[in-house]
């Protein structure tokens, strides 16, 4: 049996968890078994809908105390769920929650962990999972040799397969240990598409000359319902907030579409964005290294090219 942890925030299932659910279900199909889910905390979304991602049963611990995350408490509850269901594959979306909990479970369950998985396991000879390594510059196939295996699936790395079906929801009775962590505040960046989850990302570099020119990036992003990002120096000189910094030492992202404006494409920048499905580069220098990693490009001045792109998108969307 495969068990997937469904991560929630403010009562809503995180998008990445649907991918993880579908991953668990497809892995279960390969192994000739079924996939069930575990949800901690109080959720307002309809959990039977997880059936559409191939989940047959959802175990819930609807305790409001669990809406505050504590890696130790979550570890205890998920470990109990693994034991109660007899699961031998445990799947997570590779979110900040998984990064705190999955390693603990690896120890508690003596279960080999593959974090950053990008493909379904290969079970033709043992149990091997492909993961992203070297900050997206390569992949490693990791053989897991334990009876229970834990997989944390990278966001946007894997295609959801929707199916017909509805999951049954059953309470899972368990007494959580008391938490040693007190959450004193949560600060969400509101009104923006979260960068890590965005389908489309529009990103700017030092080529944009100064923060006063960022309207080009934000307007294009707004029209495309995209998140905004930037290169490291742009964040370091405070043209843009630090959470927008992508690359080897910033956030690693894998959107469907990444549009890079005035970014040279240094290897450390590419490391965080090269898993994007389609890459578009706007740069006035035809020799900019970014063009080698791009699918589409325009050699030209951003200050002339981007306004025309904005007009074209408006026209396409019938806004002009």
């Amino acid at each position: 049996m495969n068990l997937v942890f469904i991560d929630q925030a403010e009562g809503h299932i995180k998008k990445a968890s649907f991918e993880a659910a579908s991953y668990a279900a497809q892995t279960a199909a390969l192994m000739g078994t079924t996939a069930e889910a575990i949800v901690l905390g109080t959720v307002s979304d309809d959990l039977t809908a997880l059936g559409r991602y191939g989940i047959t049963k959802v175990h819930t611990v609807a305790d409001a105390n669990l809406n505050e995350f504590d890696a130790q408490v979550y570890t205890q509850l998920i470990a109990e769920a693994v034991k109660a269901t007899g699961a031998d594959v445990l799947v997570f979306a590779n979110t900040t929650t998984a990064k705190a909990v999955a390693p603990r479970l690896s120890v508690k369950l003596k279960a080999g962990l593959v974090s950053g998985a990008v493909a379904l396991p290969d079970i033709s000879n043992g149990f091997t999972v492909k993961k992203s390594v070297f900050s997206g510059k390569a992949f490693a196939n990791i053989a897991v040799t334990t009876a229970i295996r834990i997989i944390a699936v990278n966001l946007n790395a894997f295609t959801i397969q929707e199916v017909e079906g509805s999951a049954t929801v059953v309470p899972f009775t368990v007494q959580p240990i008391s938490s040693k962590v007190k959450v004193s505040g949560v600060d969400k960046i509101t009104g923006e598409v979260p960068l890590g989850e965005a389908d489309i990302v529009v990103s700017g570099g030092r080529g944009l000359k100064g923060p006063e020119n960022w309207g080009l990036v934000t307007e294009l992003a707004g029209l495309l319902n995209a998140a905004t990002a930037c290169s490291r120096p742009v964040a370091d000189i405070h043209w843009r907030p630090h959470h927008e910094h992508v690359g080897q030492t910033g956030l690693a992202i894998a959107p469907n579409l990444y549009i890079a404006i005035g970014i040279s494409g240094a290897i450390q920048h590419l490391a965080g964005v090269n898993r994007s499905k389609t890459i578009v580069v706007i740069n006035k220098d035809p020799e900019a290294p970014f063009f080698k990693a791009a699918d589409y490009g325009i050699v030209g001045d951003a200050f002339e090219v981007v306004p025309k792109m904005i007009d074209a998108v408006k026209k396409m969307k019938g806004i002009a």
Partner: protein
């Protein structure tokens, strides 16, 4: 107050990624080794800042690795560690490495164990959490800010689309990322002093190995860029819509 900082050795960020032995080994020829940036810039520097604020703080470093790690350990000592431990072994897998670190941590009864958020080669983001579980301690991952008041740590950690502030009593394990501190460069006095700081080498404790790298792959090469004239950006938008189906 005793802080243990976990230091790993990684190829420098511009290293060419290639594999040998039928794609089973990373090609180390000509590779420059550095301290994993998250360990150096954030975990270690924040520990040094805490020591600067309170002379009662001692910083120990731990590396699990062969003698090839010694230059990066000396550099970390030059930046500001007081003493270092090296567990003399290959890094078999995350669990094995975590078990070595946990053994050192148990022995030294540290108040804080700092790790980086991830290594830039394996990208496991795993070892901090494993160490915490082995020691049965709270773990805050992806910390962007860490402050102490007596025995209580206030830690701001990254969550999807925002930040969360947590209060936790020591001892604790924390994984560190951008925001925690600013990168520093070792000065001459530090470099000279590092030569005489104690570096204790020990043999590994017995621990299980749960995973193994079977092979590596490089991503398929890009087909090549399709260039659109700067005069006609609308053509790019059309291609993104009709061909790439990305917008």
């Amino acid at each position: 107050m005793k802080i243990l900082v976990c230091i790993s050795k990684t190829p420098d960020t511009t290293a060419k990624i290639a594999f040998t032995d039928n794609n089973t080994k990373f090609a180390t020829d000509g590779i420059q080794w550095i301290i994993n940036p998250y360990d150096e810039w954030y975990a270690l520097v924040r520990a040094i800042e805490l020591k600067e604020a309170d002379a009662g703080v001692t910083i120990h470093l731990v590396n699990v690795g062969t003698a090839e790690s010694e230059p990066i350990i000396r550099k970390a000592l030059a930046l500001g560690g007081d003493a270092a431990f090296r567990v003399n072994t290959l890094e078999e897998d995350s669990y094995f490495v975590a078990a070595q670190i946990a053994a050192i941590a148990r022995e030294g009864a540290y108040d804080i164990v700092f790790t980086g958020k991830e290594t830039i080669d394996y990208n496991g983001s795993s070892i901090g959490g494993m160490v915490a579980e082995l020691l049965d301690l709270p773990y805050i991952s992806h910390a962007v800010k860490f402050d102490l008041s007596g025995n209580t740590a206030t830690v701001v950690r990254e969550i999807e689309g925002g930040e969360e502030t947590d209060q936790v009593s020591l001892p604790i394990v924390v994984s560190c990322q951008k925001g925690m501190a600013e990168q520093r460069i070792p000065n001459m006095k530090g470099i000279m002093g590092a030569r005489t700081k104690p570096l204790t080498v020990s043999e590994p404790v017995t621990a299980d190995i749960l995973t193994r790298v079977a092979s590596f792959d490089l991503p398929p090469a890009k087909a090549g860029v399709k260039l659109v004239s700067a005069e006609h950006p609308e053509e790019l938008i059309r291609l993104l819509h009709e061909e790439a189906k990305a917008i």
